[in-house]
Each structure stands twice: as C-alpha cells, then as structure tokens.
Subunit: 121 residues, 2 copies
C-alpha cells in the first residue's frame, strides 16, 4: 500500500471513524462480509466494479484495523474466509444508517448528483 507522508489528524470521533472507513470499497466489503459472503471470489462477484487487486488491498487494511479477520485454510486450491470481528460488528448499525439515508433520499440524491456532474462537464 501507499505509505502516507502526512499523518492524519485524529481530533475527534469523526476523524477516527473516517480513518478506518475511507476507501472506495471498504464499507461494501464490511457489509457483504456481514451478509455471509466471506470468500474473496464471492466478494469479487458482489463487487464487480473493483479489481481483485484493490479488494485485496482494502481487505488488508480492514484487517489491520481489526474490523475483520482472515482465515487461510491450508488446502489446495486455496481457501480463505473473512469474518467480522466483534469490533467490526459494532459498525454494522452505523453502515446501515448510512445506507438507509441514501435509500430514503435516492431520488433527490440522483438528481443533485446528476446536475452537478453535468455542470462541470
């Protein structure tokens, strides 16, 4: 992974959660793992827009942040399973709150996002 040059400021709870949740696919990874899609190939199928490489990198970060665990079975072909830690599980309601807000305002959000996109192009 890229090594940061500037250390982030961690003043408040918002900084802290941002630090572990920022990353294009992280929230979705947590969500799908929670739903029971534990193997890398499954996750890849659920998130086809991301390359395998990026998913691996973000999974590693989630693991470093102790939100998930990685279990490698010594079999061939290889088998790997990710699971939420207890700590990771506490994030699920928060992620649900984010998703619910997005769902509840879907129409309006699509509208404003679309308009802004057209303005700049």
């Amino acid at each position: 992974m890229y090594a940061r040059k500037i250390l982030p400021n961690l003043n408040c709870g918002l900084d802290l959660i941002g630090e572990v949740l920022y990353g294009k696919w992280k929230i979705r990874l947590l969500w799908f793992i929670n739903e029971g899609h534990q193997r890398p190939s499954e996750l890849q199928r659920k998130i086809p827009d991301a390359t395998r490489r990026v998913l691996n990198i973000q999974l590693k970060e989630l693991e470093d942040h102790e939100l998930i665990t990685k279990k490698i079975y010594p079999v061939v072909p290889p088998k790997v399973e990710y699971r939420l830690t207890e700590f990771g599980q506490t994030l699920i309601p928060v992620i649900a709150a984010l998703g619910n807000w997005g769902d509840a305002h879907e129409e309006q959000l699509r509208g404003v996002i679309k308009r802004r996109f057209e303005k700049q192009s």
Copy 2:
C-alpha cells in the same frame, strides 16, 4: 473543481451518500454549520487544519448537492452565511451516529490506526 473523467457508479444508497459525503472536510463543515457556525471565517477557525481555499471548494460542493445554502449579504466588508437545508438537516443524525461510534471506540481506534501507521513507515 476537478472535473471527473470517470462517472461514479451509483448502485445503492451507500454509493449515493458516499457521493455527497466524501471529501476530507465535508462532514465537519455540515456539523459546525449545524452548530451555528455559519460564516466562512468562523468555519475556518473551527477547522484550522484546512486552508480557506479547500473549505470554499467543499462548501460549494455541499451547496451544489443542496445540503446547504449560501446567503451573501451585499455589505462591506462582505458577509456570508451558510445554513443547512431541510435536506441537509436530515443528515445530522447520521453524522451523529458516525461520531458517536468513533467516540465510543476512541481508544481502540487510536491503537489500531497507530499500529498500522508504524508498520508502513
């Protein structure tokens, strides 16, 4: 602002909320505006780590996404006030949920973030 080349995928509520909330200072801006710090100079004082330039850019994005309004008073020296729209207000409980989770797990979070940081450097 930078003009995106690749259009984001907006499949679900999580994508949609991500689109309006991503941005290093946006969440904090919404929070402080909600707390009554409505003028640019006040916001700058509350968020000294950000430059004025970046705050302006992110405020503009929040405005384009209809989460805040900007009122310019035709006086000298200039006076500007930002306020949450009704739509923006609906985000406050969600932001509170994020901040609360971060606060509740502050110690653990500082630990994992610190360790990961040391590993890579």
